[in-house]
Subunit: 344 residues, 2 copies
């Protein structure tokens, strides 16, 4: 991507991210029960993050004509619900680390972490209810309806991924994977932020259907790139353990490609390794799987798919934003699609 | 309570319960992902239950002037959110049994159960959004705002109770307990069902503040009676393991009374027993604690409190329903307060 696009994306993530952080602080203010709940509710949100999702919502809203802060409560809700999913995901995956620090479940136990996730859902809902004052009843209700669908799609995607791991699914296809991440990743990362933004910016006048395609292409490219970084990222910049997904037995596009292409003997061995609980996969197992990934060119395959999706996303962007006049916000959304693949 | 009151309560729980079950079926219809999600989402709701909460909502709404089914979606939402709390509670308490069958976490593992609870929250939210068609935007939004507060209060109450167990809190007072169950039990059992019902029935005209007092008295009497049944219920009718709360180390009013009144030596021993994980409390430990409960008359004490609260609830009922004309629905709500203590 061109250096000036990259600079714009970084600058606006910073600017909009800060704006959302200020608004979030109001929803995360200390109150009772503090020690058992609200000091934990604000933990993940305060650990920082790129603020990609709420920024995408603010930029889309403004590109479609919203006033300065019309989408701010919605952006806060997106970040709160994102954090709720992270908290519950960490419990479900028994993860130890999140953004370089111990997870809430590692710090306070899974029972409390489940409850903190529930609290974050209710804070997200509160932010969406607070849309009424600025947007009016009808528009606020439409955003709520979008929000409910987003939560439902995410939970369905999570169910599919958890089910695959529990059943040690090994006969999966590219299309199964893409359907799963459409639900699990794309709805809350790209589709809902842009649909809600366009709804608010156009006061309900824009056709939202087209955002599903666009959001799917961009969100899927984002997720595949994220999984690739787990295998080939710069260990220092990446901040998570390399090959952690292999350790977890996560059904990534790379793993699904590998399972489709290995020899029957190798598939048998791979299935046996994947059938064991996470901590029963040895370093040797992980090294062997990683070696097979290289032998079968599963990484270049996933890179090709991610590039194809990013290209489709750029095409879809032109279609969806055709009648939207040029602005910083419009350029930011366009830049995000390119930025997804440039991440390291 | 008089036999005719008791018969009316039983009859209307049956009638309204069935009405809610029919409406619920629409929200629980089989769909994909079925095996990994929706067949599990419908599990707890299909195990049956008294339908106390949704019936209380329907009856209050109609007593205050609602049409036949004006509060039906709200009643469905109450039952869905109740089931969401049950699913997450069972994960948090590592419970094995719910309504005579293995819990969702026992059947499918905690990761999937956490996700099923999240799905039930989204189904409950969907039912509240569906209020718009019948109630209009403004009233539907007010019910949503009530619903968000209910979820928040419940999560706060749950945080307090989980925190007490995690920290092995032993210096608790009656007032700590009553504040905890106001949040954890009363909001979703009595306060929200009646507030939402009165809101719908009166089209937003009634003052909802008074329902907090009334709902607290009735709900607290209900919770204390529930805890007492765990100690002195008929083992066959009760359907759960007697003394299970002692095994779990649950901070009931009975246990709090005991902790306040035992000798220093006994408190030391009791604190040590309670500090251990649930499965490290032996049958002998439970028998000893149960024996101390009898020695210090903690059960009659809790019974006195429950009766006092039920009396206060009857008084509050007269106040809140003063201008509400006599009807089967009004008599049902009044009967519920008496029924709470008559349960076995």
């Amino acid at each position: 991507m061109r250096p000036e696009d990259s600079a714009l994306v970084a600058e606006m993530l910073d600017e909009y991210g800060n704006r959302v952080r200020v608004a979030m602080a109001e929803y995360l203010r200390p109150r009772e029960p503090r020690r058992y709940l609200y000091s934990l509710v604000s933990d993940y949100p305060q650990r920082g993050g790129r603020m990609l999702r709420p920024s995408l919502c603010l930029a889309t809203a403004r590109a479609f004509g919203a006033g300065e802060d019309d989408a701010l409560h919605t952006a806060v809700a997106i970040e709160m619900l994102h954090n709720a999913f992270l908290v519950h995901d960490d419990v479900e995956d028994e993860s130890d680390t999140r953004r370089g620090r111990p997870t809430l479940n590692a710090l306070h136990g899974s029972p409390t972490a489940v409850n903190v996730g529930d609290a974050l859902i209710s804070v997200g809902l509160k932010a969406l209810l607070d849309n009424v004052d600025r947007l009016g009843l009808a528009l606020a209700m439409r955003v709520l309806i979008e929000g409910e669908q987003m939560v439902r799609e995410t939970v369905e995607g999570q169910a599919i991924e958890l089910g695959w791991r529990r059943d040690n699914a090994i006969h999966l296809r590219e299309s199964d994977y893409l359907n799963m991440i459409l639900k699990k990743t794309c709805w809350y990362t790209t589709i809902f932020p842009m649909r809600a933004g366009a709804l608010i910016g156009s006061r309900g006048e824009v056709n939202l259907d087209r955002f599903i395609r666009f959001g799917f292409f961009a969100g899927a490219a984002f997720q595949i790139q994220d999984d690739l970084l787990n295998l080939i990222g710069d260990p220092i910049k990446y901040g998570k353990e390399l090959n952690g997904d292999i350790q977890e037995g996560k059904r990534t596009l790379v793993l699904i490609h590998l399972l489709e292409h290995v020899s029957p003997e190798e598939r048998f061995r791979l299935a046996e390794m994947l059938s064991r609980p996470r901590n029963d996969r040895s370093v040797d197992d992980v090294v062997w799987i990683r070696d097979r990934i290289d032998a079968y060119n599963s990484i270049p395959y996933a890179q090709r798919i991610a590039h194809g999706l990013a290209g489709a996303a750029q095409h879809a962007f032109e279609e969806v934003f055709r009648n939207v006049p040029d602005s910083r916000d419009r350029r930011f959304v366009q830049g995000i699609v390119r930025w997804v693949l440039a991440r390291t």
